[in-house]
């Protein structure tokens, strides 16, 4: 916490975060926030504190993929804590192929106007101009997502330069810390989107947990070497080891299709859940959405989980994860 690079009007007492989460002051890059002093008072927008703070407000909630205003309204009514606006859900991107890009701003704006909950939108990995456009529309969060076709095969977006916060996918600890280093204020597992198969999300959540438990037992000398091995910034690794968790909010994503899947990811330590194709590709979206919302709140109560899992109609058809599967392995995208 010594290296406080927060903005001029920055922490009075240290920005913080979940109890377990650290002061974020040391994560934020300099020259990020915009001070806007006016007569008689000053405020600071776009700080890492308000970016990671919104993610903290989403905890214990479900973020649902929607492709139009009508679906967004159904998601809001079902208790979604946010919606992700996109043109095609991952299962359709997988089936239809082609280059998947940012959604039409008109569609995103219609969704923003339709609901009161936060609206997220996806941009391609490395496509900072899509991010500039989506920020200008007024979305509340940007997902720099492997579900869309990457625009840059070596670089991710420098997320510190944006006022809007970013969430990024990760398959392991090094990848998660690289994204945080670039300015991500929230992390999610990648899972394998559009499959309705939770196995990859479980793999990624367990990989991060195992690596953190390992790091937490290490001496400083060992942490320097681990940082090199997993290609993560040392100071973020050190902070993660101290906290025994990622220093930002961490959600599950990719393949969650049932209330039980959602509760599984919560019991594995995730702070909340993204559900993509799993809701609007199922037999009764409104009912399934509500059941998953309840499952995330009551994830430790099998009796409630049994009640909400009852009679939900058909789940989306799941796919076996296979390198030759239609659409390929999306989780491999990202560097």
């Amino acid at each position: 916490m010594a290296s406080n690079t927060a903005p001029a009007t920055g922490p009075i007492s240290g920005v913080s975060t979940p109890a377990e989460l650290p002061s974020t002051a040391h994560i934020s890059a300099p020259h990020v926030a915009n001070s806007r002093p006016k007569d008689g008072g000053a405020s600071t927008v776009g700080t890492f504190g308000v970016k990671s703070g919104l993610a903290q407000m989403l905890k214990g909630g479900v973020i649902m993929d929607v492709i139009n205003a009508e679906q967004a309204r159904i998601a809001e009514e079902a208790g979604a804590c946010a919606v992700m606006a996109l043109e095609r859900v991952p299962a359709d991107i997988r089936a239809q192929g082609g280059v998947a890009r940012m959604s039409d701003p008109k569609m995103i704006k219609e969704i923003v106007d339709a609901v009161t909950i936060p609206v997220m939108a996806k941009v391609r990995i490395g496509h900072f101009v899509e991010a500039q456009i989506v920020q200008a529309i007024g979305v509340d969060y940007i997902d720099e997502s492997e579900v869309l076709t990457p625009a840059d095969e070596a670089h991710h977006i420098n997320k510190h330069t944006f006022r809007v916060p970013f969430v990024c996918g990760a398959t392991n600890l090094g990848e998660a810390l690289r994204r945080i280093s670039e300015g991500a204020a929230m992390i999610r597992t990648k899972g394998e989107a559009g499959t309705g198969n939770v196995v990859e999300a479980v793999r990624h959540a367990r990989a991060v947990n195992t690596a953190i438990r390992h790091a937490a037992t290490m001496s400083d000398e060992e942490l320097y070497t681990l940082a090199k091995d997993i290609q993560a910034p040392y100071h973020l690794l050190k902070e993660t080891a101290r906290l025994k968790r990622l220093p930002v909010v961490s959600f599950a994503a990719g393949g969650v299709a049932t209330p039980a899947d959602a509760a599984l990811m919560m019991q594995l330590g995730c702070d909340g859940v993204f559900v993509g194709s799993g809701i609007f590709h199922s037999g009764d979206p409104a009912k399934r959405a509500r059941a998953i919302v309840q499952a995330v709140t009551h994830y430790n109560n099998p009796k409630v989980l049994a009640e909400v899992s009852e009679d939900l109609g058909d789940a989306m058809v799941g796919l076996t994860i296979d390198p030759n599967m239609q659409g390929g392995l999306l989780a491999k995208r990202g560097w």
Partner: protein
């Protein structure tokens, strides 16, 4: 559990309840309180006071109804101290503007009307230093973290409840630029309600910002001292 400790609940349906719980836990021994995460009516029945955290107010209200907590919460608010932060402030308001289509379920209990997302989308979320009367060491500003925060649109006093007491205000230059001044406000002799970011009505406390996102536990200390343990 401490002997004779006062049980203070944190509504744990969705949102930033862990942060409130952690701060209460730090204050537990000095204040002789016992924090409790509340997810069911039987949890709530054990509490002498409650904090409703930030989160999404529509989600929290729906989960409360599905858990059979909505009516017990409404009854709780009429009898016992409750503090709402952000989404919690919306739920404690008597009415809300900018709610989702079809309206939004509220608990009520505090005579204010609020507007959702008063400052606009997330890019307008901000931090500002607040001077707060009544806090320990009140000369030191409190860091107000405002995230898609609601704005107080008007005070709607009712005869049956104690008067509203303003605890903290933003400078008038920081009120939402796109909102119209509320009707009937004469800025010359009464404060623009939109500048109010913390207020008390009897044993209830409302903050439109997030003290739980700081490491500063003075607001929690204030709630326990002034509203719950009743020394003021």
């Amino acid at each position: 559990m401490l002997k004779g400790a006062t049980v203070v609940g944190v509504l744990a349906l969705q949102g930033a309840f862990a942060e409130h719980f952690a701060i209460l836990s730090r204050l537990a021994s000095s204040k002789n309180i016992q924090p409790l995460l509340v997810r069911t009516p039987s949890d709530l029945a054990q509490c002498k006071a409650l904090i409703i955290p930030g989160g999404e107010s529509t989600t929290i209200a729906l989960l409360a109804r599905l858990a059979g907590l909505l009516e017990p919460l409404r009854a709780f608010v009429t009898e016992k101290p409750v503090w709402g932060t952000c989404a919690g402030a919306i739920l404690l308001a008597e009415s809300v503007e900018g709610a989702k289509k079809g309206g939004q379920e509220l608990l009520g209990g505090v005579d204010i009307k609020v507007g959702r997302n008063g400052w606009g989308p997330q890019v307008e979320s901000f931090e500002a230093a607040l001077v707060v009367n009544g806090l320990k060491d009140s000369a030191t500003p409190f860091k107000g973290v405002f995230i898609r925060a609601p704005v107080v649109l008007s005070i709607t006093p009712s005869a049956s409840r104690p008067p509203i007491k303003i605890i903290a205000q933003l400078p008038s230059s920081l009120v939402p630029i796109h909102s119209e001044p509320p009707e009937g406000v004469d800025s010359s002799n009464e404060p623009d309600p939109r500048t109010i970011v913390a207020l008390r009505q009897g044993q209830h406390l409302v903050t439109t910002f997030h003290p739980e996102l700081t490491k500063d536990d003075r607001f929690h200390e204030y709630f326990l001292r002034a509203c719950v343990l009743g020394s003021e």
